[in-house]
Every structure is written in C-alpha cells, then in structure tokens.
C-alpha cells in the first residue's frame, strides 16, 4: 500500500498527491511515469512522476479528473492509500545540454513539464515556460516554474496573463530567435499545433504522448503510436518522442476508443455520489 502524505487542489480538476513509494522515489528519472491502481477492481492508470523526494521516500503525482478512475484518484485524501504503484516506467527525457529551451504546458501537462523544467535548469539551460489554461483558475504551478526560469502565462479568456493560446506566445519566442529546443506537454491538439509551429523554424521539439496503456511494460501493445511511419510503443519507446514525427491524428483518434464506456462510468460515479449524499 502507498499512503497519501499530502494533497493539494491545483485547479478545479487537477490535484497534486504526494505518495509514499520509496523505491521509485530513489530511482526515477525525469520523464518517467508510474502505473497506479487504486485498489481491487480498479483500472491501471499511467501517471507521470512530477517530482520525487528520495530521502522522504515519496513521489508527486498530478492527476487530472477526466474519467471515473481519475476522478476517484483525485478524491483520495491524506491518510488514504493507493494499493499499487508500479514503476518507474518509460524512458527518461532527453535533456538539452545547454542553451535556451522553451517548455510549453497545457492543463495537467504543465505538471508533467515541471520535472523537465527543473532538470533543464539544473543543467544550466535557460528555460522559458509557456503555460496556459481556459482561465486563471486553470493555470497551475506558475510559482514553481518561476523559481527555475522565466514564465509566460496565457489564458483563453484573457482573465490572467496573455490573452490567447500558448502557441501564439511560443511564436513570438521563436520569432525572437535563440530557441534551441521546445518541450510541449498537454492535450493532443496543443502538442500537434506546437509541433507544426516549430517545424519551419527547425527547432527540435519533444512531446509526451498519453496513449492508452494496460501494463506499461510493452506487453499489450495498446499504446502503439506511429512515429515517422513506424509503430512504436509509448510505454517503453517513449512516452516522449520527436514531435515532428508523431502521427497526432492517429493518437487523437485512438484516445477516443473507450469514450462511450468512459461516459457510462462517469455517469455511474455521479449516480453513486448522489446516493451517498442522500444517505
């Protein structure tokens, strides 16, 4: 069992959990993820490790409530425990050695980005983070990112920072020149747009693909993605890939495989919640 040591609500649907997992805390590298199973009968959910404290034996997970299973995870409180935390899985991030990196985060992707930004900064790379959300309350981790580099915030409704999408802010940075690498993590359309934008500038772009997974060790092949025309497994070959080579259309499409099932599960969860309130 993996007790929850800390819990923080970062945005209306993103929660930060600090979870006891001493072994993983000791060996994890930036970019790697864990597979979490809340308890008996629960789904296996891949979650990027946002941070670790080897001494305390804890890892930090940022969870966005999208489906029933992630909603249940975000509902966990300090003192609750997660039954299974397996990892660290996936390959570590290929980090720029020096120069200027722009790190683009959208939604919970910003949380996944944080360890990469920290690792880059630690290596002496100048980092500009470009993060966004629908409105102010959806912009997360700005303070943490600002501790290690520059931050540009964007909101779709202009309620905070720059009015508009992260790609527009990125374009200004690319036009200004001197960008050696871009790391983009967020919803598929955002990563696709970022990759399309950096391509003409010839700036290497790394994206993190949130494909559907079961085991996370290369056994099921459910997470297969097409990279440069070749099938790869996001769980072992990735999760990070060269954004200019990813078939985003296929990824976006495969992510819809269980949409009707997910909606049903959410409806059931809603029904349960209502029942509990009544009793």
């Amino acid at each position: 069992m993996h007790p929850i040591i800390e819990r923080e609500q970062l945005s209306p649907n993103v929660v930060r959990l600090v979870v006891e997992a001493p072994r993983i805390a000791k060996v994890r590298r930036p970019g790697q993820f864990v597979i979490v199973r809340r308890g008996p009968g629960a789904e296996r959910i891949p979650l990027t490790i946002a941070d670790n404290d080897a001494e305390a034996g804890t890892i930090t997970l940022m969870i966005q409530a999208i489906g029933a299973s992630t909603t249940e995870l975000t509902n966990l409180q300090v003192g609750d425990a997660i039954q299974d935390v397996a990892g660290p899985l996936g390959s570590e991030t290929h980090l720029l050695a020096s120069g200027h990196a722009v790190c683009v985060g959208g939604g919970v992707g910003t949380a996944v980005l944080l360890p990469i930004v920290r690792a880059l900064a630690q290596a002496g790379v100048h980092v500009t983070s470009v993060i966004g959300g629908r409105s102010k309350e959806w912009v997360i981790l700005e303070r943490e990112l600002r501790e290690v580099g520059d931050v540009v915030t964007c909101t779709d409704d202009g309620s905070y920072g720059r009015h508009g999408f992260v790609t527009e802010a990125l374009k200004d940075l690319l036009d200004a020149g001197g960008v050696d690498a871009v790391y983009a993590i967020g919803p598929v359309p955002m990563m696709k747009a970022v990759s399309a934008m950096t391509q003409p500038y010839g700036v290497p772009t790394t994206v993190s693909l949130n494909a559907i997974m079961v085991d996370g060790t290369g056994m099921c092949g459910g997470c297969r993605v097409t990279i440069d025309g070749e099938t790869k497994y996001a769980c072992v070959d990735g999760p990070e890939f060269d954004g200019h080579k990813v078939n985003f259309q296929e990824l976006a499409d495969r992510l819809t495989t269980y949409r009707p099932f997910e909606q049903q599960a959410l409806d059931r969860l809603g029904a349960c919640a209502t029942t509990e309130v009544k009793s």
């Binding site: 397996a86 990892g87 899985l89 056994m219 092949g221 269980y258």
Partner: protein, 505 residues
C-alpha cells in the same frame, strides 16, 4: 472451482463397481469422459468448461492404470511426475498420499491438470494407446490436485532446514512459481518479483477463466506463500530494480519473465480502433476482469470478431469473444486444419461453442469506416507449398483470390517475442538474434549464478515446458548454492524437447 471430492464420500463407496481382479479386467474398462458444460450454454458464460471428474469417475479411471514397471508416461512428462505412484495411492483410497506424491513432483498440479497438452505428452506414450485410449492422466491429476487444494490441512507440513541462501526469481508465471516451490522446499529463502499487481503471469493474464479459474491460480500461489515463498508485486526488473542490484542482494537469480512482446501482422490499418493484440485483449478480460460488467477496465465487445492465428492463444481469444457476445467469432489461419498448433481439445471446444474457421487465409489489410473503426479484413487465400524450417508446409498466396471478411473487432494472436525491458537493462546478459536469453546446459546465463527458463529462453511455448525449465533450473540453482558445481547428472534426466511454437507460425 469443482466441488472437491473426499477420499471416500459417505454413502458413495457402495456406488463403486467391484475392483478389477487383474490387469486383463483393467484393460476392459473404458476411458471416462470429462464432464463439461454444454457448448451452447458455456459459449455465454465464463464458468469452467470442464467441470472435473466425480469421485466415482476418478476411482474408475484410476483402475485403468496397469502400473507399468517401466512407465513411459513419466518420461513423457516435462516435470517427470511419478504418475503410476499417485494413481496407485488414489486407487487404493489413499488420496492424501496421492496428493503428497503429486505435490512433491509438481508445484502447480491444479494448473497442469487443466492446461497441459497431455495428449502429446504423458498420455501419448501410455502403454494403453496400443489397444485403445490412454489412461486419462490429466483428469486424475486435476482430481487429486483439487482435492489437495481443498484439504491442505490433511497434508504433512514440510519444514526443511534453512540454508541461509537467498534466491531471487523474476517473473511469477509457471516457470517462476515452479522454481520457487522447488527451492523453498529445500530450505532456500525465495523472493519472487512480479511486474503486475497480481501473481501468476500468463496463468492469470493470458489463460481465460473458463479454462483456468483465477481463484485456483491464487490458491496455488497462496500455498507456495504458506511454504515460505515471498512475493514482491509491481516490481519491474529493468526499471524498479536492475539485474546488478538483484545480484548483490541474492545468491542466485532465476529469470523467467516470459516472451511478453506482442507480434503484429504488419499490414496497413493495424492501428485502427478495434484491433487488439491477443495480449491486450486477454489481459483486459482476464487480469483486469473486463469480462464482468462491474469492472472499471473497458473492453470492446465485437459483434463479428476475427481472430488471426491458430495457436492456443488464438483459441482462448476467439472463445472469449463468443462469451463477450460476438454473434460471429472466426479463426483466420493461414495454414490448414492439420497444421493448427492449438491443442485438439481447445479446437474441439471452440467448434462446440460455435466458432468458425477460415483456413488457408491470410489478412492483407485492416479496413475501417470514416471514424477509423474496424469494418473488415481484406484477405487472400493461401495454398501450402514446400515445408519450411518448422517442418510445416509453407503457405503462399493464391494470386487473384482476395476477398473480405466483415468484422468489427480484430484480435491478432500470431505469437510473441522477447521483451527487451529486462535484457536491455543488463547488457552483460547474452541474448540470441531474437532477443531470447542464451543459457548453458544447466540453464545458466552468461552471468554466473543467474539462471533463466521458460519463454524468455525457448520462445513462446507451453505452461508445462516452462514448468519443466523451472524445476530443472531449481535443481541446478540448488547445486550452485551448495557449491556442487557442475551439478551431478540426473539419474533419469531427459533433455527437454523443443515443442512446436504455439504461435501460428
């Protein structure tokens, strides 16, 4: 699980026919049939297909064994179970001794009694084959093993002297569990590492509930734990721990991680929605319990399901598809019925359950609608040419024979390969060109004290061959730990046979 029989159920002894007085009389007894759920019923449930022998049937069948002085059946068994011995105990009404005898030879008899291909092993070489049907060794093994599982308190508790040596086993499938059982029995301190959240490997994620109930696997694991085997779940070797770390912590290692990488057809359209590897399809249904509507893990329920491949895994997948509600469930196999690598019993069961077969057919493309959902398989008819390296006639396409199979779900069950996760993290481990571990005649890898067995050495094979590896490696590891190296030649050891690949080939 079958109702466990007792050695002599009250009031049932009288129901038994008189004991045969001679082998001549024994030879007159017909082989019993395994009771099973009717095909049309079981095609819609996940309950066990074979329901197990009754006490009467088991006692009758046990009388059929003529107790050969030189039993061929033992040579036919990859783990060398002393078959006549346990059958004799059973026949004499000494079922606890039958169970003790069986368990001393075989760490997972409830499993092998269900999934072993006895017809190509022990039963194939039974002396009675010359004059009819062999003794139903598999049925009797299952009967005794199920009794043992339900009556563990009636078996003697082993308490071997502790050796103080630590053995790490990577993988809790049939090879790993067997080795664990053997090593703990001789007093070693055994820890098994499993990447998944539940132990059993292919027994739990691959083989379906209707062939091998999961509570039976769990009970076998629980028995091993009660004997002292330690289990660490969610531990991925190559990620959570490395081989060098484990070598520091343990006096010997046994790598039994299986061949876990799915092989796809490499045809256009394979990444459309509605194409699964058999690994994913079966893992979702079995390990994650998606066969139950209560599971939070989703599975696509195809109405018309095409399963590509002809091995046991393909049969498991197609029979699962029927149970999940497929109106049509079809095996698409590129050779003919004669070359099917699956067990005859599985093929027979599949047919009974309404599974259709398209022989001499190979898919060339997966087709989909505008939303990229699978709508069919474009196929080509094949004919058999000259034999290939496997000895089977090589299929080749017949020009101009293209046709369509309409389907909304495709499951690819054409085999597996070595997963490089473990081997890739320890470059000193020598692997062959396919990524399988290279071992010496004792099952030791290129690293001293690191042994390996099962599919990660031999490529996709069967549960019992993996168990044979586990048992042999355990004996070698024991010799290694006791400093008796190389191990003394086994008195009656028999070189493991390389069985035809389970994959469709």
């Amino acid at each position: 699980m079958t109702d466990p029989a007792s050695p002599a159920p009250v009031g049932e002894e009288a129901d038994l026919p008189p004991k045969p007085a001679s082998n001549k009389e024994r030879m007159l007894i017909e082989r019993v049939a395994m009771p099973e759920q009717p095909g049309e019923v079981r095609a819609h449930n996940f309950g066990e297909v074979n329901t197990g022998l009754t006490y009467q049937l088991a006692m009758l069948e046990a009388e059929r064994c003529i107790q050969c002085p030189k039993p061929f059946c033992v040579d036919g068994c990859p783990v060398r179970v002393d078959i006549p011995r346990f059958i004799k105990f059973l026949r004499d009404g000494e079922i606890a001794q039958a169970a003790e005898s069986l368990l001393s030879d075989n760490a997972l008899p409830c499993v092998t009694g269900r999934v072993c291909p006895q017809e190509t092993q022990c039963e194939q070489v039974c002396i009675r084959v010359k004059k009819g049907n062999p003794v139903a060794i598999g049925y009797l093994e299952r009967y005794v093993a199920d009794w043992a599982q339900a009556n563990l308190d009636q078996l003697p508790k082993a308490d071997p002297a502790k050796t103080g040596k630590k053995v790490g086993i990577v993988g809790s499938g049939p090879a790993g569990l067997t080795a664990a059982g053997e090593l703990v029995k001789v007093g070693h301190d055994v820890t098994v590492f499993e990447a998944f959240h539940a132990p059993g490997g292919v027994l739990i994620f691959g083989i379906p509930e209707f062939r091998l109930p999961k509570d039976i696997v769990q009970a076998e694991v629980d028995r091993l734990k009660s004997e002292g085997v330690k289990l660490e779940l969610d531990a991925i070797i190559g990620r959570t721990y490395t081989i060098p770390e484990l070598r520091e912590e343990f006096d010997a290692l046994f790598l039994a991680v299986g061949a876990g990488l799915p092989v796809f057809m490499n045809v256009p359209g394979e990444n459309y929605k509605g194409v699964y590897s058999a690994n994913e399809y079966l893992t979702r249904v079995n390990l994650m319990g998606a066969w139950s509507p209560d599971s939070s893990t989703p599975i696509l329920h195809g109405q018309r399901v095409a399963v590509v491949g002809g091995g046991n895994v393909a049969m498991d997948a197609v029979r699962t598809a029927r149970r999940l509600g497929a109106q049509e469930a079809t095996i698409v196999y590129r050779r003919s019925a004669n070359e099917l690598p699956a067990r005859a019993e599985e093929v027979h069961h599949a047919k009974d359950e309404g599974v259709q077969f398209e022989f001499l057919v190979a898919p060339t493309e997966v087709l989909a609608d505008e939303n990229r959902w699978v709508t069919g398989l474009r196929c080509v008819r094949m004919e058999l040419g000259e034999p290939d390296a496997s000895g089977r006639r090589r299929p080749k396409p017949i020009p101009g024979s293209e046709f369509m199979i309409d389907c909304d779900l495709v499951v690819v069950a054409i085999g597996t390969r070595a997963n490089p996760l473990l081997t890739g993290s320890a470059p000193e481990l020598r692997v062959n060109e396919w990524g399988y571990l290279i071992t010496d005649e004792y099952g030791m890898t290129s690293l001293p004290g690191v042994f390996a067995g099962g599919d990660i050495v031999r490529g996709a094979a069967t549960v019992i061959l993996a168990m044979g590896d586990g048992k042999r490696s355990a004996a070698a590891i024991d010799s290694w730990l006791r400093g008796a190296w190389p191990p003394p030649p086994e008195a009656n050891a028999k070189k493991p046979e390389k069985e035809a690949a389970v994959a469709a080939g």
